[in-house]
Symmetry: C2
Subunit: 726 residues, 2 copies
Amino acid sequence: MEGKKFLRNLFFLCGIIILLFFTISNLPYPPSNSLGCTTNSPWCTSSKNRFQFKNPHVIQFPSDSKLRRHSTAVPHHPLDPLTIPELNKVKKVIQSHDLFRNSNYALHSVVLDEPDKQLVLTWQKGDPLPPRKASVVARVSRVSHVLTVELETSKVILHETGPHSGYPTMTVEDMTSSTWAPLANADFNRTIIERGVDLADLACLPISSGWFGKSEEKRRLIKVQCYSMKDTANFYMRPIEGLTVLLDLDTKEVVEITDKGRNIPIPKAANTEYRFSAQNYHQSLINPISIEQPKGPSYTIEDDHLVKWANWEFHLKPDPRAGVIVSRAKVRDPGTGVMRDVMYKGFSSELFVPYMDPTDAWYFKTYMDAGEYGFGLQAMPLDPLNDCPRNAYYMDGVFPAADGTPYVRSNMVCVFESYGGDIGWRHSESPITGMGIREARPKVTLVVRMAASVANYDYIVDWEFQMDGLIRVKVGLSGILMVKGTSYVHMNQVNQQENLFGTLLSENVIGVIHDHYVAFYLDMDVDGSNNSFVKVNIERSNNPPKVSPRRSYLKAVKNVAKTEKDAQIKLKLYDPAEFHVINPSKKTRVGNPVGYKVVASGTAASLLDLDDPPQKRGAFTNNQIWVTPYNQKEQWAGGSFVYQSQGDDTLAVWSNRNRPIENKDIVLWYTLGFHHVPCQEDFPIMPTVSSSFDLKPVNFFESNPILNIPPNVEKDLPICNAAASA
Amino acid sequence: MEGKKFLRNLFFLCGIIILLFFTISNLPYPPSNSLGCTTNSPWCTSSKNRFQFKNPHVIQFPSDSKLRRHSTAVPHHPLDPLTIPELNKVKKVIQSHDLFRNSNYALHSVVLDEPDKQLVLTWQKGDPLPPRKASVVARVSRVSHVLTVELETSKVILHETGPHSGYPTMTVEDMTSSTWAPLANADFNRTIIERGVDLADLACLPISSGWFGKSEEKRRLIKVQCYSMKDTANFYMRPIEGLTVLLDLDTKEVVEITDKGRNIPIPKAANTEYRFSAQNYHQSLINPISIEQPKGPSYTIEDDHLVKWANWEFHLKPDPRAGVIVSRAKVRDPGTGVMRDVMYKGFSSELFVPYMDPTDAWYFKTYMDAGEYGFGLQAMPLDPLNDCPRNAYYMDGVFPAADGTPYVRSNMVCVFESYGGDIGWRHSESPITGMGIREARPKVTLVVRMAASVANYDYIVDWEFQMDGLIRVKVGLSGILMVKGTSYVHMNQVNQQENLFGTLLSENVIGVIHDHYVAFYLDMDVDGSNNSFVKVNIERSNNPPKVSPRRSYLKAVKNVAKTEKDAQIKLKLYDPAEFHVINPSKKTRVGNPVGYKVVASGTAASLLDLDDPPQKRGAFTNNQIWVTPYNQKEQWAGGSFVYQSQGDDTLAVWSNRNRPIENKDIVLWYTLGFHHVPCQEDFPIMPTVSSSFDLKPVNFFESNPILNIPPNVEKDLPICNAAASA
């Protein structure tokens, strides 16, 4: 027994030494360079999947000139994100503040404290900026704090964290340190080794523990589960099933190890690789194809953040929590030439990703990716030519590390014009009239894209602007499934009655059923801030006999929502409606109120029990549409402090106050959903699945706003040659 | 009174003379050239909108070499459409047949009588073709006939027309002659002139009369309504409201004139033009943009109809009724290299477009565009660079006129590779693991497109093939609204209680609410013909207390449809399911049955009363999904003879027989719907609105079939210059 204990301790010690060695020797940046895009991603249990760092194609560091520009950046617009000099100032102010001076602390969020909406609305280019303030969320000695730092005065205003449950978004340091903390536990190391996994092959993931009652209360907890990365970079397909380590996130102390499923083999590495460099063969199915703009792009980006394209203008910024924020979206009226307000602010506010397996190692997987992990923090540099086409412009994010030091996330957002061959509008005269008319206009759009890799999964979020005034918001899902180990290698081993909670994707691998919900905050300001929400119900009307040969027809019945509960909408195919945000004070020439409508496409609704703790936390999925009065504090659909929250600060709670929303500054919320029953095609990496919704002008313009755009003619198109022959 | 009568007759005479003059003098082709693409569109009441014929950009005639090729074409594949020599032969056989020799007749349809499915499935390139046959639908002395002509033997097999109600698809000659037939009626001409419209400015449309009971029975009827084309090519915006002429379609005799609404002014021409040449100003919002393929396209089209692209292969042909037909769609298995069957045949089978106005001049507008007008007959030449991108290939249609003479519809279908910047799949490693992985693949697709202009409306139908095995079928709506005249010029004149049946779009113009439904026939052959339809219901399961901290989760419950009624599906957001067509005899390596699923996106359901005559005729919209056993006679969802049909031969009637469908050759039907409440942006021409559904592999492949495709690299992309600088 003594011998065994000695051996155990030896393994443990070796593990730590190996770990420290690789961590230090593989740091991909000089420790003094605080601006590298991977400053916050230093950790990896093994070096062997690190070789990509040497390939400049894979991770792009900001160039020197880019770094210099960021280092001296100044804000130009009231909504511009904090610059590196501003973030450095915040760091200094915090460091010298009484609360922080003699304590351990971590900054969980440092972002611009946006000026009051009225100030932003009245600000014009050339005006001095409203006072710049930073909103800081910090943990100090296990207590969460919210502060405002006035940059000019270095004044700190301390706020209560409020009565709500939950903790701030994890820092990247929280996540990375959690993944190696279990190695400090001998029991953990022993079970890993006993399962036949070399400690050097271990990859672990920090899994938000959710909230299910008392056991998750009063301390910040996280669950860690691990994988073998032997012989594959796609360790997600090699789960060490049934082993869950419960950690205290503040102390990194192991609270509990659940060690089940030892009979479940770790799935093989074969066929799991997805990297191009690791494929046995390549399959070139097509010739090169590219979107080309011989005279260059048609957009300009002023002062780093103000995008102007065709008839659109909007402010665009990366955000550590939302990913990207689109603000002050305006479209030019073709009749008057005036830029007209459409949306004050739009962003992905929260995600909810419940897995559908109630067993021990799975029940808690009910991610809220924006509030728990930071949707923007997880948005990695985009891959030029593949994540975005050749004609894309890239925008960097600037975020602070936990100690307040700013770093640059290079190429986090891309902007490009898209043309896939679609038609903007068309008409041919038919053989019936015989008139020789054939008019068609190509449809070209402007896409803003970011892609967040929340561990295994990749979310692609596109804001697509059309010249006809439509904004399409599209969410694509790709990346890698979260899978479960099983002893089954063939479905003929499975009893018909048994619920696998998913699909057998490969030998010993089950893709577990799950949902994805992405809630969008859409502060519509249709021709001004005071708007109303109108349900235009499409209802059947039956004719009395003999009034018409037609027995029935559909009519549009308008219902203006007076209070929030009138605007809690569940979509119904057999009780359809249009959902308009109108400006009741602005009418078209013939007297229709100007408006935009939200148009759903394919979506899914959460079917979980309303009393299920995850559903309470993700209660913004109880409806597809909600409308709330504008309130600067109500931006995050799952609440400000989502981590281990109890659902006491969600969109559902706010909306149930049932405040008046007629002819007020209102915010529209739309939640896009997906049910995902995995299939073998999702293994080992998923072809993208997308869904979208539209914000579409409805009597906003007097008439078709793109009537006057010209058709394509041959002489304007480029002359291209294959690069090889050039 | 006598004087008035004289005047009336004089006007009538003048009208006819003017009409004949313009018709003849403006014939855009020499009468002897029977192959011109506008052979079947000679009619127009006025010359002034004809000038476009002189602009080669607008109407494209087949080139001489193209005509020569068509004139000598031979079939290569069992499913190839009838060639010009074959159509000429059919014409000759018919002419000399007893039934036709001494009678007036019109051929309403002459298409390939497709060989038995088994013959087609076993046929291989190099084999002799199965005997070529033509299926002919003819009207002879007011009686409909269906015949089969054996081409080799010139043998005619006469068929019964069957017990069903209804008449064949109108010929183009039916439609065009109907539009001028009212001019033979003095009352009609008088009312036109009294309404202040010059007869030379008149444009009339043939509107299928539907079926509402006895009054539509026993003779072929059509309703004609007219417009003023004074000062605009967009006469659709200038309705002569309330005037409806009921015609006998066979004799062109005026049966009844309903002359109401004289107090309603004809809306003004101002702002109705959409042609580029007629715009007061042009709005160039963007620089040129183009999809470029420096090494050429990646597809080949063998023998005119067999399309091969990337891992796909399918047979493609224009069809006068369906528009395009995709057959024998197969995808290559990346593991074995074998081409695997996916779909035997797919096409848009029928449309249903009910307008929602029960008043006299509108109640009957309940179009079934494929069966009444011919969706393919209305598909006009596509506009290169605008309807399809520069890199498109164009395919012609070859159809017969009513007398059997073949003509060429040039550029009716286009095929192109599309790349709009989307991502096929991607994964970045997040800061959590810190691995420097960034892999993404661009998504390139192959699009097959046609656009049918059924009078005012334009339907764009895309079949989009993805390399991951997915087929997306997309329907776009553009073109021009069918509008109603009104005396209102502003909404403040309208009593709140009054139902306008639509939206006031401009002064005196109401866009009437309507629906669009497009039913698709999808004969899936997933790895062979015998398939089953499986509903995979996604159901909530509640955990007993204390079993799990989770109260609920979703599980997938498979239900195999035994008979047709099991597969009559109404989609429900809160009772979701996946809908799989599987091959129960073919399993993947780990034992899942191979399958494809139909994935709905945004859609609409018909809410009309099930007993309303139009809904009976369009009963295929009673469900979104149906599955029937394969039956060569059941291809047209509204029945074979749709014109004035009574709904006795629809998909709903067939399906209610409740035949067995398990492990059989089955056909999947999906109907896409739109509710269209018009808005001012739709005036005077509508920006395209689209919706789609997907056929998506589900455990069809062992794994992601595009794992091995390479990423884009700069050196493969073209070097382009602006044309002006080249």
